[in-house]
Amino acid sequence: MDSAEELVAMVADCRVAERRIAIMGHGSKPRRVAWGHETGVEELSTRAHSGILEYRPEELVITAQSGTPLAELADAVAAQGQLLPFDPPRFGGEGTLGGAIASGLSGPARPWRGSIHDAVLGVELINGLGERLRFGGSVMKNVAGYDVSRLVVGSLGSLGVVLSASVRVLPAPAAEETVCTRCSASEADVRVRCWARRPLPITGTCYVDGTLSIRLSGGPAAIEPAKVDIAVDESGDAGIWEAVRDRAHPFFGRNDVITRLSLPRGARFDDDDALIEWGGTQAWIAGEPRSLAANVYAETFRRDGDGWTTSRPPVDGTVAKYVERVRHAFDPDGVFVGAGSG
């Protein structure tokens, strides 16, 4: 269903009436409760603006309206033997394409198949002036104008309402296998970092509770030699990737406070009590972080009733000044609540 006209009208009306808007898809993301603290905020739901607009598998691109459920997108591409490389989280099975773009979240294959930033090729957007704008397109290579499509990724609704987006897809591997081994976090860290420097068909690593799981993808001809190469061949739990991706793994229920650590590539991290994924570049700890290196980014999620509130470290002052100016360039009257209150 196409409700673009209504959404454009709502933004324009709110701008004139000086009311603020919080953009919402399925409302599945943790930080939703934060918006409740601000009064006079209207909710703009993209839920009804849903549907796949164009999908030609040989182009490796799918274009859909922002309210399209991620599950519907994933099913559509799977039916053609393809996958969404950024494999976005679906909390409680929910989540929309627009929500995935606005929150910039990527799944377990992120270091190998790329992030959602990497996959987005074009967006259609309503800016704060109520204008309907198109940036990028549906082709891989496109350098006409500033790369607004990728700037919108992760902007948490602060630049505008995504109406539709084109994202890159990839052929699904002919075969996939999860293998695992018992080891300490320190040993897992060393092995995973060593594999990163070699051309191996790895598309996921996850260390939790003393077990390192590795996902191998490719033709069968590639997987068997890789198992020999990494010296791991015990069969693992293939369900772990989806469980970790959607935060449904029991680890995420262990504490009312969960912290996500984004670690610089190559940094050592060997906390035996953590869940460590992405080839050692993303870790989750139950509770508050203790002491962290300066170059580690930590984001804390606190259970709050049915949802979660989050706290993030402040952005560097100079960068924040320019981010604010960029927001103003898209939304001069401050119509969108965006992430500021999150």
């Binding site: 290579k141 496109n142 607004v148 700037l151 970092r193 984004s262 320019y322 360039a329």
Partner: protein, 483 residues
Amino acid sequence: MSDTGVLDRLRAALPAQGLITDRQAVRPFETDGLTAIRERPWAVALPETVDQVRAVLRICREGEVPVVTRGAGTGLSGGARPLKDGVLLTLTKMRGIKEIDVDACTATVEPGITNLAISQAVAEHGLFYAPDPSSQIACSIGGNVAENSGGVHCLKYGLTVHNVLGLRVETYEGDELVLGGKGVDVLGVDLLYAIIGSEGMLGVVTEVTVKLLPLPVCKHVLLGAFDTVETAGDAVGAIIAEGIVPAGLEMMDNPAIRAAEDFANAGYPRDAAAILLCELDGTEAQVATDALRVREVLESRGAEVTSAADAATQEQLWKGRKSAFPAMGRIAPDYYCMDGTIPRGELGRVLGDIGRLADEYGLRVANVFHAGDGNLHPLILFDANQPGELERAEALGGRILSRCVQAGGTVTGEHGVGVEKLDAMCEQFDAAELAQFHRLKAAFDPAGRMNPGKAIPTLARCSELGGMHVHAGKLPHPELERF
């Protein structure tokens, strides 16, 4: 401040020979790779350190002097064309490697280092930097960031934007932005994506952290020769539909094949209507299976297939493709290289239309391009010494780009807009979109003195052209006068 005041201050801030103002000495800087457009800069500044870059920007800001940043000057769209009243900030002396972090698979470098030098420096660790524009031997990484450069291997490895993790940027106002780093995922608006591909309009990149990949252990190259351009185009889609993502998938049409063969003796079939070059890389087992499948796809579409598993034969097969551009120089005095991208499925149709348009304009066009990405490089052959030919070539180029936009594509896949494609931008974007671009620029450069006049056309220019693309008959800001 007087002009001489600015020059004196610049000279004092820069090393000896770091400021060129002599009218003859600035000549080598009057153009980038788009040689049809020339302008001698007022002054050329060649800083060696970030502090000197900052000083140049400060002095220019105080003197209200515009700045054009330039790397090696290999860009093909005039993005680094100087201004006669501006400073050309040339970063080629800042070419150091600050750090190679083998554990992180990253390199942190200065902007003036050449693209190829990065891969050379990390090869001993079994790593490489993936984007490889054809000018990689000369082009600088800073220029690559400005243009979001591509290359032959984008289909599998992505463009510059997929391979840059962090940037340090100096703004005209004197701020330093440290964006990204070694791949930390931070929530919120990420300005890295505003800077990459911004054609030097937002700030000066003084440091780049790139992602390095493990060198593939095995490569295989196949060449398929086709009777028609359309079947070659279809084979491109068919390879992808097989679930194979080749490292490179290049196509040449008959005029390009003949020119390249005359020049390089690569062993290409001179009578083929089109050839496809397909490079596969990865683990040995995977490459071997994929090569068999690609061969089947090509043969099932009637192609004659040559296959090369060893490095020497592979190099021979690539030789013709890599010498295609110099080869054109032998068959025509001048050529004009276009850069539109279209959905792969449109390849056959659009190539046919380009041929018809070429006939209409009485000019020859050869096609050598990145078929896997749908990134066309039609080369319009002409002779600038014949009155009217350059204008005809430019007009034909404009028509070809319009056709790309019509097909759902874009006016530039990897060369950038610069000054060359300003008019074509009026066709791809409407007034509200262009206005949004201008507001984004102003967020970084309110004074409008970083590379002014490039990349995004003014609304007035588009109105004058009459080509303004208007959605639903509505112009934003109808109160503005348009002339």
